[in-house]
Each structure stands twice: as structure tokens, then as C-alpha cells.
């Protein structure tokens, strides 16, 4: 197998023009909650936005509210139709630009089921493609 060339992508945090997004995964304990967490981290690594704790949002933290006010979009990734992340956002008066529900992408909810790379890729792609946007 050929060696991967050194990547030329640097820290692009100073690059302007992209949307500043905050990503809240529900981070539940079932597989879909864990997929939401892994997808949020992957999206952060890919420069889509910044993964942030939905539990912190639930506390009404003033610093987080300030970050949200400065962001362009909020994206919520819920694992299942219970939509805990969306309900926490609703309670804080927060309207997300995207709301992705992982089970609606065809992944079944199960406790203890291993998280696969394909599962994470499906959710990450859905975010980049805007599948959770209001129609």
C-alpha cells in the first residue's frame, strides 16, 4: 500500500467565508447516541463546526449562550425519535438550522451494538448534505 502523502491542510480556523456552526449530539448511551457523539467529533475534525455538550446547553450556561449568539448555525444530532437534544434546545428557545435523527437515516437503535465507521459516515454525510434542514 502506498504511503499517504503529508497533508497540506493546516489549521484553517482563521479562514473566513465558512459558516460557524455549533453541533450538539444527544450523546445517549444506546448505539445511536454514541454514533451521534462520534459523528459530531468527526464533523469537528473535518471543519464543519464545533461539537459541544448538549448537557451544558441544558444548564443554560451564559458562556455557551454567547457562543451560540455568535454562531451562524446550530446543528442537533439526535439518536432516536425521543429527540432529547431537540427538546433541550427547545427549552432554551434555540431553533436549529439542522436537526438530524439517526434512526430516520436507517440505523436501528440498540443498546450495546457496536458503532461502525459506516454508521458514523452516514450521519456525517447527512450533515454535510443538509439532510436535517427544514424543508
Amino acid at each position: 500500500m502506498a504511503l499517504q502523502k503529508e497533508c497540506a491542510c493546516g489549521d484553517t480556523s482563521a479562514v473566513t467565508g465558512g459558516k460557524r456552526r455549533i453541533i450538539f449530539p444527544c450523546a445517549g448511551v444506546a448505539n445511536v447516541g454514541q454514533i451521534s457523539n462520534a459523528a459530531a467529533h468527526r464533523l469537528t475534525d473535518e471543519g464543519y463546526g464545533a461539537a459541544t455538550c448538549v448537557a451544558l446547553l441544558g444548564t443554560g450556561d451564559a458562556g455557551l449562550k454567547q457562543r451560540i449568539a455568535e454562531a451562524d448555525e446550530v446543528v442537533i444530532i439526535d439518536g432516536c425519535p425521543v429527540i432529547c437534544g431537540k427538546k433541550i434546545a427547545d427549552a432554551q428557545g434555540l431553533i436549529p438550522a439542522q436537526h438530524i435523527v439517526i434512526t430516520s437515516l436507517g440505523i436501528d437503535k440498540a443498546y450495546g451494538k457496536p458503532v461502525t465507521g459506516d454508521d458514523v459516515e452516514l450521519v456525517v454525510s447527512a450533515a454535510w448534505e443538509g439532510k436535517g434542514r427544514h424543508q
Binding site: 497533508c7 497540506a8 459558516k19 454535510w128 443538509g130
Partner: protein, 77 residues
């Protein structure tokens, strides 16, 4: 239309390429999508930060992955 994704093949470059493929498919247009992975060519094209996106030779975005919606807007002109 020729769409070039410039980058040496890291995660961000691969994501941009995939997003371009999705955008082209959703728009229903015909386009040649090319990966430019040679670092010398990337530098010669004036790109300081990858990934970068060029359409018909014109550099549109550099230094970040563009989402599908924004790519569609770029392609629609």
C-alpha cells in the same frame, strides 16, 4: 464544466470531493470532477491552504470544506 478538488488526499479533501459529487448529482448537471493531488501543482495554482475548489479553472474556495448547499450555489453561478 470541469470541477477540480485540490488537496493531497486527507480527510478534508476526501470530504470536499464527496460533497462535490453529491452536489453535481443533485443538480443533475454533467461535470468532470477531478482530484488534483500533486503538491507542486497545487502550489503552482496559488493555493496556500487546502482543500480548495476550482470551477473551470477559477479558484472558488480555499482552506475549508464546503457543504453541499454552498457547492450547489457556486455551480449555479
Amino acid at each position: 464544466m470541469k470541477i477540480e478538488v485540490l488537496g493531497t488526499g486527507c480527510m478534508k479533501c476526501r470530504r470536499l470531493f464527496k460533497n462535490v459529487e453529491v452536489a453535481v448529482k443533485e443538480l443533475g448537471i454533467t461535470a468532470e470532477i477531478v482530484k488534483v493531488q500533486d503538491i507542486s501543482e497545487i502550489i503552482n495554482r496559488g493555493v496556500m491552504l487546502t482543500p480548495a475548489l476550482a470551477v473551470d479553472g477559477e479558484m472558488k474556495v480555499s482552506g475549508r470544506v464546503v457543504d453541499v448547499q454552498e457547492i450547489k450555489e457556486i455551480l449555479k453561478g
